[in-house]
Amino acid sequence: MEKKIVIKVENLVKAFGDFIAVDNISFEVYQGEIFGFLGANGAGKTTAMRMLCGLSTPTSGDAQIAGYDIYTNTEDIKKNIGYMSQKFSLYEDLTVKENIRFFAGVYGLDIKTIKRKSEELINTLGLNAEANKLVGSLPLGWKQKLAFSVAIIHEPKVVFLDEPTGGVDPVTRRQFWDMIYAASDKNITVFVTTHYMDEAEYCHRVSMMVDGKIEALDTPQGLKDTYHAQSMDQVFYQLARAATRSAD
Amino acid sequence: MIFLMPIIQLLILPMAADYEIKNINISIVDHDHSSYSRELTHKIISSGYFVLNDYGQDYQSAFKNFEKDQSDIILEIPHDFEKNIGKLSASSLLVSTNAINGVKAGVGSAYLMQIISNYNQKIRQKWLHYNGQEIKEGMHVESRFWYNKYMKYTFFMVPGILGILVTMVGVYMCSLNIVKEKEIGTIEQINVTPIKKQYFILGKLIPFWLIGIFVFSVGLFVVARGIYGIIPIGSYFPLYAFLAIYLVAALGIGLLISTYSSTQQQSMSLTFFLMMIFILMSGLFTPIESMPEWAQFITKLNPVTYFIDVMRRVILKGSTIHELQFDFIVVSIMAAFFNIWAVLNYKKTN
């Protein structure tokens, strides 16, 4: 079976004045793939991701998400992606239920679907007792799982996760990755940035960004073979050491 | 920002806050068109208080201007004004005042009344003179205006506004800064060090206290003296002595606010709300004696009242410490009260 391309990036550049944050990157991501987007702080990961989400206009280059062009079809792209940002992205002063309903409403789901989906979601997450509590009162791990569920509530083609597991304990992280696999099984493409090298091992393919360029792109095993490394940690060290930009 | 804003406000506010009643727009409807009516009109215009908006015979058109706020007062001179004046029956004038702004209306009509009665006096004497009767000059009122020779409103406002600004700077800075440490979490850091709470608070207050004195000095010397030409009649010693105590009270209020709020937004809103009441109930803009008793009581609990009062008295009248001892005592008590309350509350919350 031929793999369907969902994200196609060609020679993408983003410059802020003299500073070139993203320097001519090209890659492709396939349907249902878990794509790890790695790099040190300040390497340009977030900038690249924001361009793909339509939050920021590229300086030059081309990209297509789910077949839509990022210059001309941003509105169609938005209907087909989910996004979970580095900062926690639910409303703390709304309850679990209100948050789910709000985001479902934002994506234009009808009332029946919203009801069915939110019940389903609360059941899967085991949040029945907390459904009417303010999100602000939940522990961080639960919030993150809830935020991920909300980001894919409209069954998008691609979901972008920007460092989704920062500050979360190992057990919860494991559960979080189970959710990512489940989404991938439903043919949702997962585009994830992370700092945890063990998480990089979970990805189907991994790209390494250094100083705005993509230095390496392969399966985790392939990368380890290329760089003669025992673990992804060592791969990362070898690549990141060559960086000239200081971490922010 | 924190320095520039008060200085700019001190520059602009007094110019804008000119409540002197002058340039009252008057419409005169003259149905009589006699030499008397013209003479009276002339007297009104040359008094300096009034600006003639329109002069005509049509009350309706005058009233239109009145509705549009182009004139504040209509003076209607009836037909036969001159004819009736010589008779024993009185000749009457009708004055209509736009009283939405009660003060302007009251003062404006009082000025007008004064001009009319002066004029009345004059023509009456003339008449008595013609009839060979003894001329009685009547009472002569002489008025002296002290402490503000040129009757400049800015002289009154600048010291008051300076007082408000120093208070604002002190309270805002103090409350915001401490709450910010709470929010960021650095206060936790300090709480785990062996520094005693009292020293921590003192360490916070002293810089703000110095900044307050600095802002005050800039306002007093650069703006008040340099730009408005206000030179204190009294000596600087009571001013600074009072400021030193007063700032402790103001910072105490800021400290107190910070102990009651957990986010910067809350402390901002709370400070804003309190400052509004402090400013309105301080006698800065409206006379305290005119307030009902319960409101006058509130002004007595307001530290800003005392500061503004002391500022005005020392700068304009040259009052000495001896004459201000009551204010000194009250503000010292307030300073102690707010700070003790704040420190007690601070201990409890942490």
Binding site: G54 | Q266, S290
Partner: protein, 369 residues
Amino acid sequence: MRQLLAYIKKEFYHVFRDSKTLILLFGMPIVQILLFGFALTNEIKNSELIICDYSNNKTSEKLIEKFRANNNFLLKEVIYDDHDYNQIFRESKVKLIITLPENFEGDLIHQGKSTVLLTADASDPNTSNTLVVYATNILYDFQKEMSNNVILIPYTIDTSIRMMYNPELKGAYNFVPGVMSLVLLLVCVLMTSVSIVREKELGTMEILLVSPTNPLIIIISKAIPYFLLSIVNLTVILLLSTYLLDMPINGSLFLLYLASSILILTALALGLLISNVTNSQEAAMLISLMGMLMPTILFTGFMFPIENMPLPLQIVSNIVPSRWYFIIVKDVVIKGLGFASIWKEMLVLMGMAIFLLALSLKKFKTRLE
């Protein structure tokens, strides 16, 4: 439409969950109306007065009685010998000292002339001026009464004064429209700007922008709750002023609400603009509160007459939206005028609203750079 509803519902949750702000939102106008209505007046009442009476006889006593009965003045003391006036002014709150000469009665009755000296503390030039006018009028009245006893003279001009729109000279008539302008403008500007910037700070704004929602919906949904709250606020102020301060509404309520809606719209647009240029709640608050409060109080014209200001400031006052609204409210509520007299001001407000909306929509960035 479904999206819009979801957004509006969410905004209302935000508003009602934040009880402290809500209290402030409704508490502030109420406190202000009460203070302005009952406590603050520019009228001059109970000004402390000292009469120095060197003559000390029946005529002077009668005159002193007249001052005692007048409620502009509060006769603090009558003194009969030399005092240092300077000392009196510096130590106490006395604003005016009237000096009656030794032969006050004799001079007045026999020679028909006498000189009375008024010494005023002019640190507040306005008050002192007014007090001197009041006192002079009382003195002339007194003289009239005295001389009426002697002979009846013709050549008397009788002046009757009508206080239009506000016969009791209540301060509320001036302040209530002022507070309305102030509260509506500030609350809307502050609340919209802060609520948008808060989403920026929290990062939720990114999520909303990544979603397929039209940015216009995000903005409208931010505006609607505060619009409705402001209308409620306005109604509370009007009820308070009608039933508590006895200030009748003479004009059309519809017109008043229409004008208020336009002002609120202008304010919301301004809030939006502020939120576009700031990135932290602190900055948004500083600009809305510090930057807006003082100019609004000053240039609306309810505290200080605009015509007294230097020309540059008068020109500046034209760009303050509440200034135009204040004129409309005075015309409609107090004078009871109709649309014909306020259409110009309405048009100016409309123009401001449209201009600000266009500007802020243009600046509202779909893509956060």
